[in-house]
Symmetry: C2
Subunit: 271 residues, 2 copies
């Protein structure tokens, strides 16, 4: 990239104020900053899954990471919610706010090339299982050229999973880690991960226990406080930093001017 | 466009063999032809609408044209099916076949700019009604630059409705007419409309009644044979020809080598 980029991941919680995020982003776009946005949609995904009689099921890996069990039917619902309803609703919202957004999933132009995990070791209560029909995996390549083409033409890419596997099938990948892959591949200035929490908390029930700064050397240690979704965010932060991204900010999407707050390192600033 | 483009509309009927279409298209891509593909998804749309307890409802305009009644909930299902499941499934299929496809909806980069019909005069049995909450409309602009950017970089754009209204809200637009708008805006060499019929039939129950050639002057007259979905196809053909596209072929997607057949003017060739 000729001009440095900020990658912003916006969480998929129901209480995220997307309008607030994009209104704030617009001010920085006008100042010449470049953004690539990755969005989630987990709450809408859970809701539609339930409506279609396919309630969400969470897999917990041996290392304690949670992921959505994604069989064929779940993947189809995933395409509907992430790439369809949520992506296009956000793209239209951006256009109403004067942001020239283009929505892309990881399968478009093989934006996210990935690898399916053929056998997933999971823990279910006291049992250990191997799940083989899960259509999830990890990103190992990013089509930087496609993003560069759009960024150079003045578009703001609005990106979401799935990725495209080596067999060229859509696979579910974690959104936070997808954003980290993007940030690394784009040699982004920074990665901002916005969600419905203030950042990494020592005690997840106490917002005043926010960890304000973490040096990259201490990230592994501090990451022990992460629970649930926050585990993936600290993992994504570690991957981004290891890949050369200078700073990662885990910040709150629900505050006023969330982009400004994050750029001022309010939240958990990891560098 | 520097290199002439063929716009191919692929219908959304369950019996369409998408793999057959794209395998055939690949041969022509390798010969240097450029394609922009517009796809439908009406059968999947009907199915999901029913599953979600929102069975499809058809509006019939005073001039006899059928369209899907699209309230807010239907529009959300539309985004899920068209932009989500079907678009991304087709993009992944293309990648498996070696076609570097990028899926876009009309809202992305305001690819299809449109206008919502605020009052729709419809016929319901013997009654005439005015429908005011329908989120449908007509395309009046195409972002040719975005398509040019992708085509010049070697991507095959896979496009679907909705369009983006003047109020920057997604609106349902007819896929055949969207393809015609694209063909006109791209100054395409030709428009191919593939569906699950052999072309325009004098008697829709008799495949041997195919009208093989129509000159543009006689299109209005011959279009009187069109019924149901075919009405929109002949309308799209008329719009394409009026906009300067040299030929439109209404052809069968179910045959072997459907692109070859269409390029050889098998079906109804309108020029």
């Amino acid at each position: 990239m000729s001009v440095p980029v900020t990658v912003v991941k916006v969480g998929g919680g129901k209480d995220i104020d997307h309008q607030g995020v994009f209104v704030d982003m617009k001010r920085y776009l006008e100042l010449g900053l470049r953004f690539v946005v990755v969005h989630g949609a987990h709450d809408e995904m859970d809701e539609l899954s339930r409506r279609l009689g396919k309630p969400p099921r969470t897999l917990i890996s041996e290392s304690g990471h949670e992921s959505r069990y994604t069989d064929r039917e779940t993947l189809n619902i995933f395409l509907m919610v992430y790439c369809g309803k949520v992506n296009k609703t956000l793209v239209a919202l951006c256009h109403r706010l004067g942001i020239n957004a283009v929505g892309l999933s990881g399968v478009d132009g093989a934006l996210f090339g990935g690898e399916r995990k053929k056998a997933l070791r999971v823990v279910e209560g006291a049992r250990r299982l191997v799940v083989r029909d899960d259509l999830s995996g990890k990103i190992h390549s990013v089509n930087v050229d496609l993003l560069g083409l759009l960024l150079d033409a003045g578009y703001v890419p609005l990106v979401c999973p799935p990725a495209l596997s080596e067999e060229r099938e859509p696979i579910n990948v974690d959104g936070d880690r997808a954003a980290a892959s993007l940030a690394v591949a784009l040699e982004a200035e920074r990665l901002v991960i916005l969600s419905n929490v203030p950042g990494l908390l020592r005690d997840k029930n106490d917002p005043t226990s926010l960890i304000e700064t973490i040096s990259s050397e201490r990230l592994d240690e501090e990451a022990r406080y992460a629970e649930g979704r926050m585990k993936k965010k600290t993992l994504a932060a570690a991957e981004a930093l290891r890949g050369g991204v200078k700073e990662v900010i885990l910040a709150d999407a629900r505050v006023s001017r969330p982009i400004e707050q994050a750029l001022q390192h309010r939240g958990t600033w990891i560098r």
